[in-house]
């Protein structure tokens, strides 16, 4: 990940020659930065991702899966979406890596080595659903700013680590604590060392949940670089931006954490619903907490041509943030009629649930299979886009795939 190799041989003049144009504001280029046209890193090799994954952004890296790639019950690394806000840390030394817990509401400041964390506290493994708050953003109208995620910014891997609550208790939490905020080793895109690319957090109640982990393993192995090696906060069921990667600090706060991307329109939606395209004041925006109920048809891949008379087995996953999914239904007639799918219990709280059904089609033609999940409070996914919001978060509209019976 070290670009010094490159730039040692490339002067600004050299870059300008290669680009065929002088670099305006060249003096403001971060010193180890290589202009886009000169970068040639293969992210699939770099991050061991499947070639079918879709790169939305290469600086910072953002990559999503397609629905059919997410068919595994436990998401393997090769199909796990990447959402980065800054630059991946260039040097990571697990021997010297530390986590410092501080803040107004910490009894004291304590620094732990990775070894301390791994040996002092009990290990736990949970399968946890992580979905980007902006998953589905591409469908909003008028369009919302940011990476244009379609359906693939969701994963459900096994995470192994220690409970954040155990560490917080070890440090000591004052009675006035309300929130925790994370700090991490990724660096700002502008190269400014004083800027954190992202520093979000969760209310103390979420931090104290038994499934909220400081994880060092994903699917039984060291967490891959792009997913937060060597230490990641994992808050299942909440916008994945609360699950800070490359973690080196936790602040116990006596107020809502005010780190980067906690304010403005970041990971916030209007407290009261607004008409599409409205301008919303910052003070009228509320922080997203639990993600809404949603489901994904992962088999078959959209576009299946099926011989008339043959039944079709479908399957997928459904999740509902902090809640459980109580029902998944499918429709082959655009919502006119719904049939219930078989639905499994989750591996543990905050893990997605698998569903399946067998469909018999009445006659030849073009069909869309729509899936609709309902959460344990009786709230179902909408068939159209849910409430518009300035940054295009929380699109949990029903997923659908195309099938032709021939």
């Amino acid at each position: 990940m070290d670009r010094r190799h490159f730039t040692a041989r490339l002067t600004l003049a050299g870059m300008a020659t290669a680009l065929g144009a002088p670099i305006v504001f060249a003096h403001k280029l971060p010193k180890d930065y290589l202009p886009l046209a000169l970068q040639d890193n293969d992210p699939f090799t770099l991050f061991t991702k499947d070639k079918e994954m879709v790169v939305l952004n290469d600086r910072p890296w953002n990559m999503e899966a397609k629905a059919h790639l997410l068919n595994d019950r436990i998401t393997p690394n090769k199909y796990m979406f990447i959402r980065n806000n800054g630059r991946i840390p260039e040097t990571i030394d697990t021997n010297t890596w530390t986590l410092t817990v501080d803040g107004e509401s910490a009894v004291g400041t304590k620094t732990y080595s990775l070894k301390d964390l791994k040996t002092k506290f009990k290990h736990h493994t949970y399968q946890l659903t992580l979905e980007c708050g902006g998953n589905g953003r591409s469908e909003f109208n008028p369009p919302a700013k940011g990476n244009q995620w379609t359906v693939g910014a969701v994963s459900c891997a096994n995470w192994t680590g220690i409970r954040l609550s155990d560490v917080l208790k070890d440090v000591g939490v004052k009675a006035d604590a309300v929130y925790i905020g994370y700090h991490a080793a990724d660096t700002h895109l502008s190269g400014d060392p004083k800027k954190e690319p992202i520093s979000r957090g969760v209310p103390l109640a979420k931090a104290m949940q038994e499934e909220t982990l400081l994880a060092f393993k994903m699917n039984g192995e060291d967490i891959p670089l792009a997913h937060g090696h060597p230490l990641r906060l994992v808050c299942g069921g909440w916008p994945a931006s609360t699950s800070g990667k490359w973690l080196n600090g936790i602040s116990i706060r006596n107020q809502v954490h005010d780190g980067a991307k906690m304010g403005g329109s970041s990971y916030r939606v209007p407290c009261e619903t607004v008409s599409p395209g409205s301008k919303v004041d910052e003070k009228d925006m509320c922080i997203i907490e639990s993600m809404p109920v949603k489901s994904l048809l992962t088999y078959p891949k959209s576009g299946a041509l099926l011989k008339k008379g043959k039944n079709l087995n479908i399957n997928g996953h459904a999740w509902a943030g902090e809640l459980a999914v109580s029902k998944v239904s499918y429709s082959i007639d655009f919502g006119s009629t719904w049939q219930e799918c078989q639905l499994e219990a989750p591996a543990n709280r905050l893990a997605w649930q698998h569903f399946n059904a067998t469909i018999a089609f009445p006659k030849k033609g073009y069909y869309e299979i729509w899936a609709q999940a309902t959460d344990s409070n009786g709230i179902a996914q909408p068939m159209v886009l849910p409430g518009w919001n300035p940054k295009g978060y929380l699109n949990n509209a029903c997923h659908r795939i195309a099938v032709k019976v021939v």
Binding site: F6, G20, K28, L36, V55, P60, P143, A304, L312
Partner: protein, 154 residues
């Protein structure tokens, strides 16, 4: 005696050349290390050398798209390349659709929070390019499924 002196001279010459040889390797190694500070790190991933683009390659436009960046080839595109791709990828621009007011607000936000510099008289030109080539299109509340790749399901 003379024979012995000869031998000693030869031995000294051998020692000296070995010494200079070692010195050369050491100094060479130091220069190499200066250029490659991670040469001794076990896990340093060798990065591929950038393929130098010729000016011709860089200017290539196909179907109205500037191949090297993915931008729509239009007036002021170079200004956009120069000012909008030094921190983030061109993909962050090309995947978005905004009105003139939306692009203006985005630039203002980047200047206020993300260290984007003052664009001076270029700001107007950049916004005009973006608002023209990356304008929103009406999508309605739900679109038809598109880009379906049909395949026979076994």
């Amino acid at each position: 005696m003379e024979n012995n002196f000869d031998k000693q001279i030869k031995a000294l010459a051998r020692m000296l050349s070995a010494f200079f040889g070692l010195l050369l390797v050491l100094v060479g190694g130091l220069f190499y290390l200066k250029e490659h500070p991670n040469a001794f790190e076990k896990n340093s991933v060798p990065e591929p050398l950038p393929v130098a683009l010729t000016k011709e390659d860089y200017d290539k436009v196909e179907d109205g798209i500037h191949i090297a960046t993915g931008f729509v080839d239009d007036t002021h595109m170079q200004l956009v390349v120069q000012n909008c791709t030094s921190c983030h990828s061109a993909k962050l621009v090309t995947q978005n659709r905004m009105s003139e007011a939306g692009w203006t607000a985005t630039i203002k936000w980047m200047q206020e929070t993300q260290n984007l510099w003052d664009l001076g008289p270029n700001e107007e030109k950049i916004i005009a390019y973006l608002a023209k080539n990356y304008a929103p299109n009406q999508k309605g509340r739900r679109q038809n499924l598109s880009d379906i790749e049909w395949y026979e399901l076994k």
